[in-house]
Assembly symmetry: C2
Homo-oligomer: 435 residues x 2
């Protein structure tokens, strides 16, 4: 049987999972690749560190040049996170003639154009199924399986850490800080979870998907984003009273005048598929003009789901499919002008949820509704309870307003004006409502 | 730009949809294929028939030999249904050196081994994404995207016609016959819907998926199957009272002693994803040992969803990916021994729902429960209402029993014995309950 020599660079959680699939299930990968995938080298920073996997003698090395200078190694799973030295290593591997498989979405979102262009110049390929949505094969589905469609929209839950946190806050009523601590203990959140909870990670994944789905050259930091890091348990509770859950939704929609992109906590109606995605699961709903809606749900992170995606890419690369895909797709190509332009976020028409802390005296609601009327924002529902302790004389009470569809710019300006009213204290919470 | 010449054989609903994607969206297919997909010929039985699509002059022909004898035509979408002449045409096209794309699951389920072997001998490929689950790209997902996994189970709603019928019966309380008539008027059911409603279609699709997922050489007619054609609205109602919906579920599960396969109406707990699949939608839940559970939901039939799958296969074939996949996969290969054996259906342990019409007199329930006890079947819940008109003296009342997990053989034998009790009239309805 033919053999393709593989190297893994970076033997962390995912790397160890990939090594296990190659070592323990070689018969399986061979059956699907029509050849043996042979793990020849695994490059680590520290040979003495205890590993999650037993490697045969001679596989482990601290020297990247053992891979670069070995012409027998054709495919490399590059599984180092972050931007550097990941970027430099990737370029070195490409120059050395290796095809690359990676899970590093931050690197692709930031330096994708450079890396993909260089790979093309060198006749190499980069596969990156594991970079978005872990075990859900969304990259292959959008770029191959649905390739006869114009994708009209995609929306999804792309960050498992955030979804775990909001699920626990919603179901247990815990505070944000408590759940983050719990997520860290369970290994669902990093020591510094900023990139996950502030929407950065979801925006980077959305940028990659938008390249594939819309041919849009999107700079991830241009995507308007909010995270779940400032989400208040009160909002989860009010949303539930209104028949919604709050989820961190990444949204892309092709409109006549451009592409709408956003990442933010969003009210999703209970009972609809995205609302029922729990804990560390991810889900994506894609609408194509021919196929209609297609919904994908699976584990968005974790050792073996991510390793499953990396190993599938290794098989595709060894078989030769990746190279054909990579050559025919235009994504991340610097010299291609963007096929679609980003739409001005202020013009996107959506429903909104506002929560305010208002002074409990006459004229307050009138002042607020006057601002909404001025901005032509129509009110769909209002919740104002008496204060929790029953004291009708409480100084401040929460007020929740759900609007009908309105341009996001009008909603933002109205919220700013309401925030400046003397009867209002603290910020106005403003969340999207998925229609 | 390079060009691949395409022919369509059979310009029915799906064929016309494929023609439209090629003709109206040539820029799109070219972008994803890196070349033009040029519709050169479309073979029909009757040139004079009115079509759902406008074809350029010279494309339409009644003569298959216009395709067979044209060496410029490399890829053919063979979209004739049924076994013959579809099989003969497929063989002729392969002999003439064409790569094939097809949506004909009956043909593959019946003659797959012959056709795939011949294609391999001739160095050709057969792509068949559209044969299972319409717009859901389940073939590519199982055979490529999840190829690093041992698939442990797959279960799904694979027949849109049946699902439309049970959804309407469940939600509107209509009778089976009324809904079938409505489905025929809406184009969801054929004039003779037998293959859809008796479970044949779902069993054929399950056989194809089992080839891919488990390497099992399954003869579709060996799969134990029941349809929805004998489903009583009463069962839908009782199921709902118990917290379930009834769905036609195709089920495959790898057990230690073989592969479990079945198709039949099954009680699925309300709120779980498969229970919420409505109307003509299909859904499949796959569990892989690395990736965990992955859930797919989309339109299982219809012109453009199916055309989307056919056109994606045309693109993959033109790009050259299909040939690589086809060569490395072992499915439908006659000379490969089956990797797994089918498990004796009687040994499969499941929960069951029984409905009986019982005589309303002392000792009846005792006689029934004695039979269940004899077969070591434990009762989870019982529903016996007074008769609908409140007359406690009614001769016959319905009795519903939900069992705990029990071998299917024991459940069948118990049902047969209960059916023979003098206090029982009519058949004992026995349905699986998804755990």
């Amino acid at each position: 049987m033919e053999k393709t020599n593989i190297a893994i660079v970076g033997l962390g959680t995912v790397g160890a999972g990939v090594a296990r699939l190659l070592l323990d299930h070689g018969d399986r990968t061979a059956r699907h690749a029509g050849q043996t995938l042979w793990l020849k080298k695994a490059v680590v920073r520290d040979l003495s560190k205890k590993r999650d996997v037993d490697l045969p003698a001679g596989v482990l090395t601290e020297s990247l040049s053992d891979v670069i200078n070995d012409p027998e190694i054709e495919v490399v799973a590059q599984l180092i996170g972050g931007l550097e030295p990941a970027r430099t290593i990737m370029l070195q591997l490409l120059e050395a003639g290796k095809d690359i498989v990676t899970a590093n979405k931050a690197l692709l979102a930031e330096h994708g154009a450079e890396l993909f262009t260089r790979a093309r110049e060198l006749g190499r390929s980069i596969a990156f199924e594991a970079a978005v949505a872990g075990g859900i094969p969304i990259i292959a589905n959008i770029s191959q399986c649905l390739s006869a469609n114009q994708i009209l929209s995609l929306e999804g839950i792309l960050n498992g850490t955030s979804n775990f946190i909001v699920t626990q806050m919603d179901e247990k009523g815990s505070s944000y800080d408590d759940v983050v601590r719990q997520a860290q203990e369970l290994g669902y959140a990093e020591a510094d979870p900023t990139m996950d909870v502030d929407g950065t990670d979801a925006a980077q994944k959305l940028a990659i998907l938008s390249h594939l789905a819309f041919g849009a050259t999107v700079v991830w930091s241009d995507i308007p984003k909010d995270g779940i890091d400032r989400l208040d348990p009160d909002d989860l509770r009010y949303a539930r009273q209104l028949g919604y859950r709050i989820k961190l939704i990444a949204n892309a929609r092709l409109a006549d005048d451009g592409l709408e992109l956003s990442v933010g906590p969003t009210l999703v109606r209970i009972g609809t598929p995205l609302a029922e995605v729990r804990d560390a699961f991810n889900a994506i709903r894609v609408i194509g003009d021919a196929v209609g809606p297609v919904f994908f749900h699976g584990l968005g992170a974790g050792q073996m789901p991510t390793a499953s995606a990396v190993a599938a890419d290794l098989i595709d690369t060894a078989v030769g499919r990746t190279r054909l895909t990579f050559q025919t797709l235009e994504y991340f190509s610097i010299d291609q002008p963007p096929r679609v332009k980003l739409r001005d976020a202020d013009t996107i028409v959506e429903r909104f949820y506002f929560r305010l802390s208002v002074a409990n005296h006459p004229g307050t609601l009138s002042a607020i509704t006057a601002v909404l009327a001025k901005h032509k924002i129509s009110i769909a529902s209002v919740i104002q309870h008496e204060s929790e302790d029953g004291a009708t004389t409480a100084n401040r009470v929460p007020l929740v307003i759900m609007t009908h569809a309105t341009p996001a710019g009008a909603a933002r300006r109205a919220a700013d004006e309401i925030e400046a009213l003397p009867a209002i204290s603290g910020p106005v919470v403003r969340l999207r409502v998925k229609v």
